[in-house]
């Protein structure tokens, strides 16, 4: 009975994190973007610097009518937001926050494969939405999503494989236990490839070709309204949390820090994740959208060769030090 309680408690905590962190990042994005563009952003809702803006947005979304287009494939259309969102919740369960036993939702033996596999499933939601909407803009968005996933999943996997080689394990806590500070310069190319490919998989700017609003309205999500649309947006921000958390765990040493690793390891993890999330927002404000052919070219001619070079380097160093 105690075990069941323990599991339930862990899942509850993961669920709470899943609900809170994406909103925190969304609000940070409002504010950071605003200040980078010389304005204030939301200031009214909730009083202090508009902290409740996203709560208000959620209430607004919940009140809106949930429209399903007449020609749409109803069931697939309605199921798509859940398929897009739930994988990120599952991934969050496996990300270790601190060094102790209790600081991870569930230890998964083949952790890297688990997180990458389940993250890949989330894209099916966008594809289902794109096809089932019976709208040509949605269909174009779905096509672009698929093309982007196919191009960027490979460099992401290769970069993660490099870390697994370095650590000699595919379990996420295992990788962190093996981490040394000099892995940072050793794996820096892999880290960059992983982060960029992850951004592309989340369709964040500058890789937001699948939802390019000036060309195809809002891509696969064009026909969505109300709560279902909000779920797609939430999936994007949950994706940012997951991507930044994973990059932290795989490449930045997770709970390791210059001091206080034992008691305050989880603070380091959260700090690094928050820093990366800030970079994600920063990139959105700084770079123009890549064109479709530029997107593909970047993946196939730059990121994949870089990832392969990183694997070769990892192998050489690994053999040299052993």
């Amino acid at each position: 009975m105690n075990d069941a309680l323990d599991v339930a408690l862990r899942l509850l905590v993961v669920f709470a994190v899943f609900l809170v962190l994406p909103l925190v990042i969304g609000q940070t994005e409002h504010k950071v973007m605003a200040h980078m563009q010389g304005r204030l952003g939301p200031m009214y809702a909730g009083g202090f610097h508009g902290w409740a803006q996203l709560v208000a947005d959620g209430v607004k979304f919940a009140q809106k009518e949930d429209v399903v287009p007449a020609d749409a494939d109803r069931r697939v259309f309605q199921l798509a937001p859940a398929v897009a969102l739930l994988p990120y919740l599952l991934v969050l369960v496996a990300i270790p926050v601190g060094p102790s036993e209790g600081a991870v939702g569930q230890v998964v033996d083949a952790g890297i494969f688990f997180v990458l596999a389940v993250m890949g499933v989330g894209v099916l939601g966008s594809l289902m939405a794109g096809w089932a909407s019976a709208n040509k803009f949605s269909l174009l968005g779905g096509l672009r999503t698929a093309a982007q996933l196919l191009a960027y999943e490979l460099p992401m996997l290769l970069a993660a494989a490099s870390v697994a080689m370095a650590a000699g394990t595919v379990s996420l806590p295992g990788i962190l236990n093996a981490f040394e500070w000099w892995w940072l310069p050793w794996q820096i190319v892999g880290a960059l490839v992983f982060f960029i490919a992850g951004l592309a998989e989340l369709q964040r700017p500058p890789f937001d070709m699948p939802v390019a609003d000036s060309e195809i309205i809002f891509g696969a999500y064009t026909e969505y309204t109300g709560l279902r649309f909000a779920l797609f947006l939430l999936a994007e921000y949950a994706g940012i949390v997951v991507l930044c958390g994973l990059t932290t765990v795989l490449f930045l040493g997770g709970w390791h820090g210059p001091f206080g690793t034992d008691g305050l390891g989880w603070v380091w993890t959260l700090l690094k994740t928050a820093l990366l999330a800030f970079v994600v927002i920063w990139l959105r404000v700084s770079y123009p959208r890549l064109r479709e052919d530029q997107l593909q070219k970047l993946a196939w001619t730059t990121l994949i060769p870089l990832a392969l070079a990183q694997i070769a380097l990892t192998g050489i160093v690994k053999v040299a030090i052993s």
Partner: protein, 199 residues
């Protein structure tokens, strides 16, 4: 194939008192089988692809229940995450309608059924014959964990592994050559899953 392989266990260990894992295994197997049948019988093309997701995911769950965790996640990564995405990508490029495709029926379906049954039968026979007395201990340390799979693969099965990788490399080179011959270089994204399996 997996259904029968496990169906043998209760025979040895008390058919009337199956464990929870065995019941779960059979239930998931039923769902997987149903999804697989729907995949080939539905008249809606994209639905077929989505039922395929359920079937492939069900097989991944079966792997998990048999403690083969690594294989399960690779199954999800390659098949659900890449092969089905490629399938959907291809379907979106066609004029797959929402609702029934009038021409989704093929005159070859009885021949296809025959081939499918023959293939399933021979696979069943091989698996049952090979693993008749093998028993997986579900309670002990995972026998399908990444470490065990890796050491077995690279100690006992290196030659088949290398032969397979050469085959996949040949397929990859072939794909590049074919896409070049037609003078169309936009086929690059389509090569991704093969490339992935090669790694």
């Amino acid at each position: 194939m997996m259904l029968l392989a496990s169906g043998h266990h209760p025979v040895h260990h008390g058919f009337l008192s199956p464990t929870g894992v065995e019941i779960a295994f059979l239930l998931v197997a039923a769902v997987t089988f149903g999804a697989a049948v729907l995949t080939v019988t539905t008249k809606q093309l994209v639905h077929a692809a989505l039922w395929l997701v359920v079937a492939l995911g069900g097989i991944a769950v079966e792997y998990l229940l048999l403690t083969a965790e690594f294989i399960a996640w690779v199954q999800v990564l390659i098949y659900v995450g890449s092969v089905v995405v490629l399938l959907l990508f291809g379907l979106m490029l066609t004029k797959a309608p929402i609702g029934r495709s009038p021409d989704a029926d093929s005159g070859n379906k009885w021949a296809a059924l025959l081939v499918a049954l023959a293939a399933a039968g021979s696979l069943l026979w091989v698996v049952v014959d090979a693993f008749r007395t093998t028993w997986i201990n579900l309670d002990g340390p995972g026998q399908g964990s990444t470490k065990v799979s890796g050491s077995i693969l690279f100690r006992h099965w290196v030659l088949p592994f290398e032969a397979l990788s050469v085959l996949l490399l040949a397929a990859l080179v072939g794909a590049i050559v074919m896409s070049r011959k037609s003078g169309d270089t936009s086929g690059a994204p389509g090569d991704a899953p093969r490339d992935k399996e090669q790694r």
